[in-house]
């Protein structure tokens, strides 16, 4: 048994899993606030990554300027998308809304291919040194940075929902829209904000993955990977999304390890999370952390 490979893959799993967690959180954010299942979540990563890449290469902006501009753009993009496309869909059947988000996903996917081409393009180097040595292992600096960024975003989400007024308002809206309105919360504003934040956070993940692997339409695959993570954790739980992401990331890499050591079936790591998803949903249909309402009359 190759322990070094196992260790390497598990670290990989944590890093990728944390990113899944971040994207899953932004997916859950939209679902919680407005009950919309956003199939275009992966395209948010793609658009964010391409925007940042474009600013950094075509405009030669340094990363610390290009990145905030990307975030600002994604925020505006999220609000615009909600206001123009999804606001008119409020009150429509859920299947129509899902069709709209699937449509958005296809449109964005094609649009990005049309503008930037189909080939992966690397980010200009961002960190001075390529690798760092941790516990005697050489780890790429971008991986460490990606993990740190993921953890920061998670901590930020935690703070946001616990202490900020807007975060509380979002939770209230998720719980009961009519009550939220009776408290003076503008539900429209909450919806727009949830899309803005979701697009922004996904873009961060997109840029991180882009820096590691280069930018290509393969990035939007994250949007699909997020489903097992989110459903595993429970559709409406932010903590569940993070853990779901980590579990999926670790599972993938563990499956990869088993596959490469013994089975040699190939591609195990792509389907393993979905098998585990099925098993967990058979045992806990609400997901690991999905909430059932507290009922007390």
């Amino acid at each position: 048994m190759n322990f070094e490979l196992l260790f390497q893959l598990l670290i990989n799993g944590v890093i990728v899993g944390a990113l899944y967690g971040v994207v899953a959180m932004s997916f859950v954010l939209i679902y919680k606030a407005s009950r919309i299942v956003n199939f275009a979540q992966g395209e948010f990563l793609l658009i964010g990554a391409w925007t940042c890449w474009w600013l950094l290469t075509s405009w030669q902006l340094p990363f610390w300027i290009g990145f905030p501009i990307t975030l600002a753009f994604m925020m505006a993009f999220g609000i615009l998308l909600q206001v123009v496309v999804l606001r008119p869909m409020i009150g429509e059947p859920i299947i129509s809304v899902i069709m709209v988000t699937i449509g958005l996903s296809i449109v964005f996917q094609a649009l990005m291919k049309w503008i930037f081409g189909v080939f992966a393009k690397p980010f200009p180097p961002i960190f001075a040194s390529q690798t760092m040595s941790i516990f005697g292992l050489d780890v790429q600096t971008v991986y460490i940075a990606s993990l740190v960024v993921s953890l920061l975003i998670m901590a930020g989400f935690g703070w946001f929902f616990k202490y900020s007024k807007m975060g509380l308002a979002m939770r209230a809206t998720a719980f009961d829209q009519q009550v939220a309105q009776s408290l003076g919360i503008s539900v429209r504003q909450v919806f727009a904000m949830s899309w803005a934040i979701s697009a922004m956070v996904s873009a961060v993940a997109g840029v991180v993955v882009g820096v590691v692997n280069g930018v290509s339409s393969a990035l939007s695959f994250f949007g699909i990977k997020v489903f097992p993570a989110v459903i595993l954790g429970g559709l409406d739980s932010v903590v569940g999304a993070v853990l779901g992401g980590l579990i999926v990331g670790l599972l993938e890499n563990f499956a990869h390890f088993i596959d490469s050591q013994w089975l040699n079936w190939g591609n195990m790591y792509e389907i393993a999370p979905f098998y585990v998803l099925i098993i967990i949903l058979m045992i806990k249909p609400y997901g690991l952390f999905g909430t059932k309402d507290i009922e007390r009359v």
């Binding site: 007024k165 509380l168 719980f175 408290l183 003076g184 919360i185 503008s186 539900v187 007390r296 009359v297």
Partner: protein, 285 residues
């Protein structure tokens, strides 16, 4: 606006408040008509006035349109596909019908909805902070302490609000309304599902809030006796209209009100059959 019982002189208890010279009322609802789903006519020409600083009770049988009236005022009607199709709602001199509910909260009207509707998966403190959502001043912390002063038992509850007892949830709902520092609180059936003892407590708190903070309260109740004890004046609704109004004292002594809302009435118990025909003859109108 003239109704049957207004001319009768007020009884001593409420006289001090009720005979204050007529100012422009804080809230006046003038001849409104409310339609749900474009077809169901619920309120047909309802009018009422709520003077500043008073507790006003709005009574009536189930389905008379009491809650709809409150939702028309607070704008929450919009969330239920309802619409004010005629008439005016004027608050502090400005017409407010058609305005979004969050803008109405900002103007100083806060509705405590029927069934408490606290946010079950948040703590008491988070619920209270949400009550102050529309405020941006720094006194929110002080106000939370003030609410805890009125409801000491809420301070001891640190878990999720969904696990509170019904009475505690009602207290939390009232406290949440206080956090918004409104000029007018619309209270929809605060006694619903509470024990008689708890009903007493809740009503005494409503009166204290009205007295101490000077908040005007429009109170919808099934418990007519308690409501008329707390209120200065009252309105009685039937099928979408006000059919009787007057000071709380007058209403309490009115034979028809006694008969239909307070129980007892004047004579010996009637059989249900007689009661029904009596009701048919004297349907207020």
């Amino acid at each position: 606006m003239t109704h049957a019982a207004t001319a009768v002189p007020a009884a001593p208890k409420s006289a001090a408040q009720a005979t204050v010279p007529a100012r422009a009322p804080l809230l006046s609802v003038n001849n409104i008509e409310v339609v749900y789903n474009d077809v169901i006519l619920v309120l047909r020409g309802l009018s009422l006035e709520v003077p500043e600083g008073e507790i006003v009770a709005l009574l009536g049988a189930n389905g008379a349109g009491k809650s709809t009236t409150l939702k028309a005022i607070s704008g929450l009607l919009k969330t239920e596909d309802g619409e004010v199709t005629r008439g005016d709602i004027t608050f502090a001199g400005e017409r407010i019908n058609g305005i979004d509910p969050d803008a109405i909260v900002r103007r100083g009207i806060f509705q405590v909805m029927e069934g408490r509707r606290i946010i079950g998966d948040m703590t008491c403190q988070e619920n209270l902070r949400l009550g102050a959502f529309t405020r941006s001043d720094g006194a929110v912390k002080n106000d939370i302490d003030m609410v805890y002063h009125y409801f000491p038992r809420l301070k001891e509850r640190t878990g999720l609000a969904g696990y509170l007892s019904g009475g505690e949830q009602q207290m939390l709902a009232i406290g949440r309304a206080m956090m918004a520092r409104p000029k007018l609180i619309l209270m929809d059936e605060p006694s619903m599902g509470l024990s008689p003892l708890m009903v007493k407590e809740v009503f005494s708190i409503i009166q204290r809030i009205n007295r101490d903070l000077g908040v005007t309260i429009l109170l919808v109740e099934q418990n007519a006796r308690m409501a008329l004890q707390a209120a200065v004046r009252g309105y009685i609704m039937e099928s979408g209209k006000v059919v009787l109004d007057g000071t709380a004292e007058d209403l309490k002594n009115n034979e028809d009100v006694k008969e239909f809302y307070l129980g007892g009435g004047n004579e010996e118990r009637k059989s249900f059959k007689n009661l029904k025909s009596f009701k048919r003859r004297k349907r207020w109108i």
